[in-house]
Amino acid sequence: MALTPETLPRHELNGLPVRVAESDDPGTVGLEGIVVIETTNTLQIEVRDDGGSRVVQVSKSGSVFEFAITDDAADLEKGSGTTSKLADSQPDSSEHDSDESDRAGEGVAYVTVDGSRLLSRPARRTETNGDSPWQ
């Protein structure tokens, strides 16, 4: 279960490069950086300006995030033929209105996720709709 566009909403977000694609708060639209801390309702994004870096807290609800999945994860995803899997999960994910991946460069996949899908405690997000043996 590598980090792929399908598993991303259940996977670790800390450390991923992210861009705020849309937001109710106009001040945060277009922010680009790396997720450093996740809370139930927010993501804290470290933005590197020329000079130093600052951490901006962005609300999950009302925002749309674009995560960049790089290197090994993207390679794996190509090898395992994600496009077919994505088609399988399409009816499910279209309900929540999200998860389209479009590939830009070599080894980088961009995944757009509606922030409302990520509303959960960071540790609980993995279990909610998962492959847990208990459900």
Binding site: M1, A2, L3, T7, R10, H11, E12, N14, G15, V36, I37, P122, A123, R124, T126, E127, G130, D131, S132
Partner: protein
Amino acid sequence: MGVAEERIDRLHDLARAAASECEHERARHYVRLARRIAERNRLSLPRTFKRFTCDACDAYLVPGKNARVRLQDGHVVVTCDCGHQARYPYEEQ
């Protein structure tokens, strides 16, 4: 490997990177999250994770920076800056 195991792996790397940049509070946050994920998913943590984190204060330990590592008769003693000591045995070759 499930998502939970992978998250723990990633958090381990993130904690190590944060600790090496002296972001100790952030490293602690990652260690706590990894512990919580392991607990929720009934997984045991990797041995390297156990040996490089403090059981008492959840700090990620960097020997020489915030941890002291001393060899004693048949065991290693790792002392965290918070004063907590962890011991594990070693075998002489």
